[in-house]
């Protein structure tokens, strides 16, 4: 047992740190660290900088641009990226549809989509959730019918994040109405420009418009847009959601946010006292840091343990989700504590709220309440924390 890293591991960490802090566009990092929303262009730029370095898709198969990194290397890559304020490569592309295509799709589909997906030449969005389905994803009702050599899709998806930027969507559709719930589902790709696809933005409580409803009305797509086998879509979705749990603890991100909070709390004053000198504030900050340190260690243990699992998701990663989401939420409470009365002003913009162009109150103030509101979602999506507890109860405690 040894908590220290090998010289090779440390060299890799330094490479990550150097690249993310010195070679990556500073302006984008600054916006992320300041809690501001990125424009489409900025997201694309950021993604392509990573892809140019070969770091947008490290967990893909090597032949499609992946790396043979160790778990520790992958950990440093994520941690340094999050700490530096570098946005992660677009998850819909690199963590979701990309790995599914690489693993299950035909050679033709791979060639057609993987390079463009890796470089964000195609922007993907996810058509999984449906109104009323929530955590019970398998109860989905959007259906695809085979008509000749096409699939005709009818139905409705929701919580489709950033669909306003998307070129393509990957959709879970019911293709066999007679089969049991999880069976009879297929995984189909559709061009967002296909006639019959319409989008309705949903405003969220942070003021943003990042999520959407997507309606499918007699949407005809070529039969070759089916990924893998018909009626096997549930397996692909589970594979995809397994990937989604990687890095879900967001330790590096929370580290960066706590660092920012310390800085701001040292500037912001209540009367003549600095916020950071308030004993209650510093106690809550310290508690959160201790909990995050424990989570970081837990994450390292899960990472280390991953080596022997052959890619099967470790149910212990549910701990990372549980604690990681709560800690992210706590950091947003701390930020509001720093800001005080200036949590109140609401600054709307097309890119969501949270810009502080007005210059009222302390820097970061305009993002504080929206961040708090927005982060309530992290214990709901990606398998709610209640679902994570069910997973641990069953898979680890054997109930």
């Amino acid at each position: 047992m040894d908590l220290s890293f090998t010289p090779e591991e440390l060299a890799f960490r330094d490479e990550c740190r150097k690249f993310f802090r010195e070679e990556f566009p500073e302006a984008i990092r600054r916006k992320v660290l300041d809690g501001q929303h990125l424009s489409k262009d900025e997201i694309v730029t950021a993604h392509r900088v990573l892809n140019a370095k070969g770091w947008a898709t490290p967990h893909w198969p090597v032949e499609w641009g992946g790396k043979t990194w160790s778990a520790v290397q992958y950990y440093f890559y994520q941690d340094e990226m999050q700490q530096a304020g570098v946005p992660s490569p677009l998850a819909f592309n690199t963590s979701m549809v990309g790995p599914v295509i690489a693993q299950f799709a035909s050679e033709d589909i791979k060639k057609r989509f993987l390079p463009a997906t890796a470089n964000l030449d195609i922007w993907w969005c996810q058509g999984f959730s449906e109104p009323g389905a929530g955590s019970d994803l398998a109860s989905l009702r959007t259906k695809a019918e085979k008509r000749g050599n096409t699939w005709v899709i009818n139905g409705q998806k929701t919580w489709t994040t950033l669909a306003q930027h998307a070129d393509w969507i990957f959709v879970l559709c019911r293709t066999d109405a007679t089969a049991k719930k999880q069976e009879g589902i297929s995984f189909i790709l559709a061009d967002m420009k296909t006639p019959g696809i319409t989008r309705r933005p949903i405003q969220t409580i942070d003021g943003g418009h990042e999520v959407n409803e997507i309606f499918f009305d007699e949407v005809v797509v070529p039969e070759e847009n089916l990924v893998g086998e018909v009626n096997k879509g549930w397996d692909y979705a589970k594979f995809l959601l397994g990937n989604e749990r990687t890095g879900i603890a967001r330790v590096g991100f929370s580290k960066a946010r706590l660092k920012k909070i310390r800085e701001l709390a040292a500037l912001e004053r209540v009367g003549e006292q600095r916020v950071i000198d308030d004993p209650k504030f510093i106690e809550k900050l310290t508690s959160t840091e201790i909990r995050l340190k424990a989570l970081e260690m837990t994450q390292l243990r899960v990472v280390a343990n991953d080596r022997g699992r052959g890619g099967r998701p470790d149910p212990a990663s549910s701990i990372l989700k549980l604690e990681g989401s709560v800690i992210q939420q706590l950091t947003t409470e701390l930020l509001m504590d720093v800001v005080g009365p200036y949590v109140m002003p609401f600054a709307e913009s097309d890119e969501g709220s949270g810009r502080n162009e007005m210059g009222w109150g302390p820097e970061y103030a305009a993002q504080s309440a929206p961040a708090y509101f927005n982060n309530r979602k992290v214990s709901i999506y990606g398998g709610s924390n209640e679902i994570q507890r069910n997973i641990i109860a069953k898979a680890i405690l054997g109930f």
Partner: protein, 378 residues
Amino acid sequence: MDFDLSDDQRLLKDSVDRLIADRYAFDSRKKIMAEPGGWSRDMWAQFAELGLLGLPFPEAQGGFGGGPVETMLVMEAIGRGLVLEPFLPTVILGGGLIQAAGSPEQQKTLLPQIAQGKKTYAFAQVERSSRYNLADVQTTAKQDGGSWIINGEKSVVMAGDTADTLIVTARTAGGRFDRGGIGLFLVNAKAQGVTIQGYPTQDGAHAAEIRFDNARAEAVLGDPAGGLAAAELVMDQAMAAICAEAVGLMHEMHVSTVDYMKTRKQFGRAISEFQVLQHRSVDMFVALEQARSMSIFATFAASETDPATRSRNISAAKVQINNSGKHIGQECVQLHGGIAMTMEYKAGHYFKRMTMLEQLFGDTNTHQAKVAKAGSLF
């Protein structure tokens, strides 16, 4: 001891509840939010007609002589309806300050205007770093002939963008934190030297940043160097009022969660059948009842004669309200799931207002520290 409402109180409650049920449905509220300043003059007129805008004022001044219990009933209804009209800034703060510090003449002139819905007020007291300390005043008032000239900046003034009159705390003597030397000045919002930058707040209300550059006050309420005690009294009354509003919010969040659980199906059954979610909604209910108890406690504390006791008890209530409110708000969103994250559903709106109330007039830390300093509650 009696927790029942009197006949008059029940009548009041019923009529306010009815007005809000009739006129403050989710869609109506959305339309109201789009009006200038985010509130409805029509609704305001109805409030006036119902007597709400003069509720706490003496009958001689166009009011209904209501006490803290009546205010509590109205504020709870305001919470349940997420009402946007500036009842708190105008009636509770504005009217309260005039009652507490104004001369009989001022009371006789100004209170009926409020009661009739003719004038709205805002209380401009927060400054850039003052947070929740009313005595931290750097804005100045200097005598110039018979009137006062105000200079300084006020932050996050609730309803400050549409108020006709601003009541401004300003220093006529003493150093930054001194308790003495603070006056309450009436400034016409349209007066020269007053710059108002209004904006919406997170909860759908409005506030403003206000700068005073040699702005001339219309009048001063009471002693120009002795306004703090009245400001503290009225702030405590306002705190009791928002405790009641918060209980209204929590009540709606809890009811809406329980209702949603009974209809929402997951994995083939209503989610209300999951024991984990049942117990969590029970814990919300306990938090709600504890908050309701402390809202009543604050209501009666608001007319406590000893300022130290009043302030300690109301701070204690605010701590409970904040703790319950945060718990209920977060659980409300969590148990609803994604739908509560959208602006299209009411739960998120309650959660947002509750979050703002947690901070308004002092966050949990601030009030907890005040109680700790004041000694035992028993």
